[in-house]
């Protein structure tokens, strides 16, 4: 996790809010560093994490996680991390008997219907341990990313329904958290993606939006991060609701600074 980002969000692994949906989105840049941040953050916070990883392999996340101080291999072995490796298991879908349920079986269906099997997988992975001993603090669902589901033929409403049911099971029933990444297509006219992004934004408590600089690529400033706190059901609090910072991604950390205050130009 990135300590500077924790400071900006005013949170630590020991002191987090529960029952919240955090939406990560990126526009004209790669926002996957936020996914790595939250993965290592919640593992360090001793939470049970279910990671639906659809775009990268397990070893990729493991290598980055080691730089951030967590071992995904160890977490998976001790049961803290349940990892759905989309790239590998999507191939299994085609070599299994059709009757056997598989989370990604929508890939086999002619009319891609719903993500109910993925929801069942998540609910099963994060259900509380029945012996009553809470080994982990609260469950967390991490999804990287939701836009790829649209590319795989699902509709925006189907993905929104999946997130709705995950909110019911994780945020409401178990007071856990959800973090999901959605790409913003920006100028490209992708109505389905816009519906997905706006629909999730309305349900989110925190939106982190990584944007490329409007002036183009820069060696010392890789982008800017907009943080928007929302209160979907409560009157807006008096604190700052929106902050914008620029950032630079380094080998093992990300440094944040106010706009125009990059150390390279001061």
């Amino acid at each position: 996790m990135f300590p500077e980002l924790n400071n900006l969000l005013n949170t630590t692994p020991d002191r987090t809010e529960q029952g919240k949906l955090t939406l990560l989105c990126d526009a004209k840049t790669d926002g996957s560093f936020l996914v790595h941040h939250f993965l290592s953050f919640y593992l360090k916070a001793n939470c049970k994490v279910c990671f639906v990883a659809l775009v990268q392999s397990f070893s990729h996340y493991n290598i980055v996680g080691r730089k951030l101080g967590v071992s995904l291999t160890a977490a998976r072995e001790c049961g803290q991390l349940v990892f759905l490796e989309g790239l590998k298991s999507s191939v299994d879908v085609f070599f299994r008997a059709q009757a056997e349920p598989h989370p990604l079986q929508f890939l086999r269906e002619a009319d891609a219907g719903s993500l109910q099997p993925v929801y069942e997988f998540v609910r099963e992975a994060l259900k509380p341990v029945e012996d009553g001993q809470a080994a982990w603090r609260y469950p967390v669902l991490l999804v990287d990313d939701l836009s790829v589901l649209l590319s795989l033929g699902l509709g925006a409403v189907a993905v929104l329904d999946f997130m709705h049911y995950c909110r019911v099971a994780v945020c409401w029933e178990q007071k856990g958290n959800i973090v999901a990444l959605v790409h913003d297509s920006g100028d490209a006219e992708d109505e389905e993606n816009d519906i997905l992004l706006n629909g999730l934004s309305h349900q989110s408590h925190l939106i982190l939006r990584a944007e490329g600089l409007a002036t183009g690529f820069c060696r010392d400033v890789h982008g800017q991060l907009r943080i928007l706190w929302r209160t979907p059901s409560q009157p807006a609090a008096q604190r700052d609701r929106s902050l914008t910072y620029q950032y630079k991604i380094q080998d093992k950390s990300v440094s944040f600074f106010a706009k125009g205050m990059s150390p390279a130009v001061l």
């Binding site: 719903s114 109910q116 929801y119 409403v157 929104l160 329904d161 709705h164 049911y165 019911v168 409401w172 109505e191 816009d194 519906i195 706006n198 629909g199 934004s201 309305h202 349900q203 939106i207 928007l228 929302r230 209160t231 979907p232 059901s233 409560q234 009157p235 807006a236 609701r241």
Partner: protein, 347 residues
């Protein structure tokens, strides 16, 4: 906004159209300025009365919000207002849980809320869905049998629009908004107010237009500098649509606090302790004039300035002073022609 709130307090046939909470500005009417203000306020009140009568008829009110300016807290504030007036409020909850929706309401309000839970299992994935699914739940609200004035809140209309065909939803909304008449027909009809929360970024112009055509009023939320505003557009039969912008904020107990106008722009005042900087203090050239230089400058006559002295000098050329003379030594190749080429002109 003031008028939507007042409409929640007034029902037709009650009182003589008196506006609550508007004290007279100057009871003695001192001065024409005071009279103009009173006249202006009465004009606004008259328009407010018209809007109240439109909203008091019932019907669909759309609350259009966006990601930045969420509308659920306003919906809850209007629900609280209805409940405190003794109305029963039915809520079709699709986006948030019942606990989260009831949070912030006190017991007197919560006792009048009836929450129809579509949040927990809207698509019957867990086997706990309401019978008939979303459309069945909506149609069941049309057939409710409770008496008295009622407000129906749809949280949210966007969710219903994404999951139901637009025509079916519009038909159900029409059926919901129709006046609920008691059996027997002799007692006056009770209007039904339907509040629909709509996330306008999620829908195209077609469905939005269809819902607008069904609506009695539309409240679009926006704001500036942290202060929310509501742009209210209401339609009355055979009259022009009425528009009003109201700045407001919602208190933690979901009471509405109406503001008079937009927040003042924060002006960039300089620090009062630092004196203004003189830009001419540190330049490398002289911008100032001494007294003698100033006198010489003021007395200087510009070359092309036509004054009476110059006019006289031109009309009566004085003795030649230092006029210029031209000395020319012709070359061998010069062809000097002494003839005046204009000699043959007869002018």
């Amino acid at each position: 906004m003031l008028n939507i709130i007042d409409s929640f307090q007034m029902r037709p046939g009650v009182g003589g159209g008196r506006i609550h909470g508007v004290p007279p500005l100057c009871p003695e009417g001192g001065g024409s300025a005071g009279r103009d203000v009173i006249r202006g306020r009465r004009r606004r009140d008259r328009r407010g009365l018209e809007m109240e009568s439109v909203l008091a008829l019932g019907g669909l009110v759309l609350l259009r919000d966006s990601v930045e300016w969420e509308g659920r807290s306003l919906l809850k504030a209007l629900i609280k207002k209805s409940a405190l007036c003794g109305e029963r409020v039915h809520i079709l909850g699709c986006e948030v849980s019942e606990d989260e929706f009831r949070e912030g309401f006190d017991a007197s309000v919560n006792s009048r809320l009836i929450y129809h839970d579509l949040f927990r299992d809207p698509l019957n994935w867990s086997g706990e869905a309401l019978p008939g699914g979303p459309l069945g739940a909506l149609q069941a609200m049309c057939k409710r049998t409770d008496r008295g004035p009622v407000t129906i809140a749809l949280d949210s209309l966007s969710w219903l629009l994404l999951h139901l065909p637009c025509p079916a939803l519009c038909q159900a909304l029409c059926a919901l908004s129709q006046q609920h008449s008691r059996p027997g027909g002799s007692s006056p009809v009770e209007p039904v107010r339907v509040l629909g929360l709509l996330h306008e970024e999620l829908h195209g112009p077609g469905p939005l237009g269809a819902l607008s055509s069904l609506a009695q009023a539309e409240v679009t939320l926006s704001g500036t500098m942290g202060q929310a505003s509501a742009h209210i557009l209401s339609w009355r039969p055979q009259q022009c649509p009425a528009r009003q912008t109201q700045w407001f904020s919602i208190l933690p107990d979901f009471s509405l606090d109406l503001q008079g106008g937009p927040p003042l722009e924060s002006q960039p005042h300089p620090e009062p302790h630092t004196p203004p900087v003189d830009p001419t203090a540190h330049v490398t050239f002289n911008l100032h004039l001494s007294e003698s230089e100033r006198a010489a400058k003021d007395s200087l006559t510009l070359p092309f300035q036509f004054s009476s002295e110059k006019q006289q000098a031109l009309l009566r050329p004085g003795p030649r002073q230092a006029t210029g003379r031209i000395f020319y030594e012709p070359d061998a190749y010069d062809d000097l022609d002494q003839e005046d080429p204009d000699d043959d002109l007869d002018v």
